[in-house]
Symmetry: C2
Subunit: 196 residues, 2 copies
DNA sequence: TAGAATCCGGACCTTGGGTCCGTTTCAACG
DNA sequence: CGTTGAAACGGACCCAAGGTCCGGATTCTA
């Protein structure tokens, strides 16, 4: 799985070009699955060979795009100020984390859809999911009234699945703020259960 | 989309044969996606044309299998005795319904996976999902402490997604009863929030 | 600037869903 | 029963899309 860096400037330039072209295509096209690898290569002005050498396979390209988009949030979560950063009390941080995930999915509907569903292997094996789940579980652990933090983390994250978000925003025409509010309310309910 | 009945006995016999063969193949093979349509046709002793004429496309075959397996539960929910049937008080019926869905996914992991993920269009457009969601929403509506019954129904059902269940049971090696217990606990928490 | 290492790119391969149409089977009718 | 037209059969065929390959171009190093 060729994913290592290259020092040659043409390789670097092409990698960037592919990333940019793919980004644009996924934003423009209706459904992720009618963005083909050949399309991306053509839009980037590059051969298919180049594309596959740089990213391994379709999933690799999607992952690269996804991680790039996720980077700012990751920073905010790991070393940023409240309410996302580590200094936040658990009862406030959990809703903030989940809202951040939800907003990310809302802002990157097509991309998240392509990565979560299109993949041949389940989204639960992706290491970015493991990261979110691990973090959320750890924070939930610090809230005494919450049992089964592992399962609870899975269940809460499941409510932010890309295709569900897409359905709510696209099919049911619910506004972004409405979705956020309802989800926040749901999260509050889960956290409140069994404590004064 | 050719889905109507035929009176010719060879057509009926072949339809059954395909259904049985597909059922067996999905149960036997590790991953749903290495059951090809050609495999099913061969296992059923039938040509590919027959298979596609009877079910339209791959999704149609999956749907037919799924509906067949779902039929008993559907009966129990629509006209059966408590705790699944309509005579059950809402606070007891919601957990029962969700447990039934979860058990169904546990008992039909491969099939549910193939239908929910493999499809080109989102699982939320499937009419069996609409049925479950509609019913669950209606029952939730009767519990005063639950707000946003529509969203809540989506969120609860999301925790029974086939790939999540597969991950819990397959990857994390959690026992069936453990999963049921944790999910039941989660549901209880959601229902209890905001009421004595 | 020579030479080697690396990268480029598009022709080519494979796989699997879906279609087509000549042939066969069914069932209604005389 | 034999005929006959409609419906079903089945496997050769088509096509799209992901992924591979290798001769030639480009870049780095000495």
């Amino acid at each position: 799985m060729p994913e290592r860096q290259s020092s040659r400037k043409d390789a670097i330039r092409n990698r960037e070009a592919v990333l940019a072209a793919a980004d644009a295509l996924f934003a423009r096209r209706e459904s992720p699955e009618d963005v083909t690898m050949a399309d991306v290569a053509a839009a980037a002005g590059v051969g298919k060979g180049t594309l596959f050498r740089a990213f391994g396979d379709r999933a690799g390209l999607l992952r690269a795009l996804y991680e790039a988009r996720l980077e700012p949030i990751r920073q905010a979560v790991e070393t940023g100020p409240p309410p996302l950063g580590p200094a936040t009390p658990p009862r406030d941080r959990v809703p903030a984390l989940l809202d951040a995930v939800l907003c990310f999915k809302l802002d990157n509907r097509r991309l998240a859809l392509a990565l979560e569903e299109g993949g041949s292997s389940s989204p639960y094996r992706a290491e970015h999911y493991e990261r979110w789940h691990g973090l959320l579980q750890a924070v939930l652990e610090q809230i005494p009234s919450v049992a089964d933090s592992g399962f609870t983390a899975h269940a809460l994250l499941a409510a932010t699945r890309a295709d569900l978000v897409e359905h709510l925003a696209g099919e049911e025409r619910i506004s972004r703020e409405e979705i956020r509010a309802q989800f926040a309310n749901f999260v509050t309910g889960v956290l409140a259960s069994g404590s004064p």
